[in-house]
Amino acid sequence: MLKIKKVEIEGFRGFTQKTSIEFENPVTLLHGGNHQGKSSVLNAIEWCLYGDECIGEKSGIRERVGTGEMAWRVVNDNSEKAKVNLKIEGEQGIFTITRAEAKGKGKKGKSIKISLPNGTEKEGDEGDQEIAKLLRVSFKDFATTVYQHQETIHDFVIQKPSEQSAVMDRLLGLSDYRNILDGIKKSDVLKLQKELTEEFNKFQTRVQEGIKIRQKDLDNKRDKAKEKGLSEEELNENKLLELVESTIKDIGNFARLLGLTTTAISPPSDWKNTESFITDIKNECSRLWAESPDVKEQSEKQRKRSEMVSFKSKYETQYLNLKSKKKELQDFEQENGNKDEIDNKIRKAFEEIDAINKEIKRISPKAKLIEEGISILKLAAPSDADICPLCGEKVSNLLEHLRKEWEEKITAQVQELEKQQAELDKKKTDFERLKKELVHLEKDARREKEELKKAINNISEFLHKELTDKDDPAAILSIEIKNIDSRLKEIADAIKNKQVTIDAILEKTDIMNLLYDILLFKNKLEEINQIQKTNEYQKQEKIRTDVSNLVRDVEELSKIIKSCMLKEAEEKIDSARSAIGRYFRRITNNPAFQTLNIKVDEDKKTGGNFYIFEDQDGKRPIPVLSQGDLNSLALSIFLGLTESSGDSHPLGFILMDDSSQSLDSQQKARLVEIFNELSDIKNITVSTMDAEMQQLLKDNITKVKTIYKLSDWAPDSGPRISKEI
């Protein structure tokens, strides 16, 4: 059996500086507080032996799953390279295994080397193969029978009973099966068949809807065809082609009737081209109709008539406008006089104003003179009685008399004149306004007259006839319109027969259209009904069959995986059942459990294994077990599997990491007893932070032991390791 002699660790996880630990005795105890590097020592051994297999999801260890910041890092944060050197002693001698990994270099930065006792060295893939040959234990078996990870105990203790099966799978080394089943379940393969079936059902529904719609359209067209006089037997391609032939003849006859030549229209090569044939026929009908002499004349006459009506209407409107303006001018002149009379009135007003102005001017110097006279008289202190120079009367106070005379006579006279002048000014303004109005009215009347003249000229030009003032253009136009109406009636009678012919042709095109639609819808319905024969349909059938096969394969494979997983669990439990029960009874020493039976079955819900623990009475103890009992159960499974792997197990050592986490003092003591017995056949390395466990191991292990204390861990140096004797 292979036994570890020494491990040298540098730059690996908690270890920065190179550290050496020897395992020269049957029992090695690693103790110290949390995060001092105890587990890193065991991890280093595992990593050196199995490399990347013990990292990530496939390791079955949850803390090693994750990438980036969450990743379980091999290389210490303060180192560029991790290196572990392991010396293992076998029957042939000492094997030295060195595994290294450089930070951030990927696969290129990884190396492995094994030195055999005969001095041969093997590296790389050959090195890994040589190690596998030497160990003869897979990583999974190593994790279930050699290295008891603290996580498996911890998980078993804290998980709900329903989730303990997953932990049991890990304890039994079945994580790969479980992970693969999870991966398959997470994929969309099993859902795909359902999705495709749903898609297909939707498609089928749309096909049925399509058939209904087309059938409805077809029935509708059939009804219309029957309304047009076609029988059910006639709703076919022959009838359509028959109509095509006769329409071509009809068009020829129609052209001849009009005295025109027809453009050659070829019959469609196949009924599917009827649509363009119908369009050609309709276009030809329109062309022939437009080019027919009668129709041309009719069109020309209609255009001319329309123009005459418009000219007549414009003339009549203009005539009425002029008449209205003239009346307005006449009324104005009757009321206010004509232009000459208004001019006279204005002139007269001017003259009167002028006369008043003169009078005012005449009186004003006289007033000035009197005003000055009064001033002189005031200065000369005239006598009290005198003769007034104005009125010639003798007055007692001439000065006062003069002032009164000036005020009463001259001022009043001027005021009167100014009043008259203002009235005359107003009159003059009114006359001027009237004159302006008159001018405006005359201008309007002239303009209307011009417009009327233009309307007459237009009519004259249109009719190619000289019109004098004596002519009544409206009457002339009325006669012309009457003549055109008469001619239009003659033309309408003449083209009536032709219209009947063209209507008959167009009616045929409608029937052809109906027949074409009917054939088209029938064809479409046929296509839909025959959809299953199309390549696309066959291909989709094949895809559904392929998917169904794939789903069946995946289900079949899942079944095989489950069955293998179940079988392996059963085999492992069968081989270790009695040892597990024994260890469990021994560690717990619980009189309630005389036997502990483990059964395994398939969990229909999760697809994994489902484990049932029963006591001697068939009762299930898990829900009532204490954390210590659960811890004992997990340890018992590990120890049971270790024992069941037999003496032939190539590895002569076991690694126990924090085994006593939830055990009480007595359970710990009993576990130490077991370790002591096991140390007869295997070297045991126990890592613990539990001071009581440490003391129990020191006191009760009867074999030679090495004790290492790990403490004072620092990032740049790692832990301080002291060896206790």
Partner: protein, 61 residues
């Protein structure tokens, strides 16, 4: 015997063996998520092709 060999031993059909091989390779490469993505990438094309076929068929309606 590893889990891979144990399952392999139970498989009778060649195509199941190939599928198992593919799943194992994916698992070893990238774990559970890789299995999921390998299987999904296989069916993504099938889904796309199927949708395209139905789309073409619907055009005939």
């Amino acid at each position: 015997m590893t889990y891979k060999e144990k399952v392999q031993k139970e498989i009778k059909e060649e195509k199941l063996r190939n599928l198992w091989q593919e799943i194992c390779e994916s698992y070893e490469q990238g774990g559970v998520e890789q299995i999921k993505s390998t299987l999904n990438s296989r069916i993504d094309k099938i889904k796309k092709d199927y949708e395209q076929l139905l789309e073409n068929l619907e055009k005939t309606l």
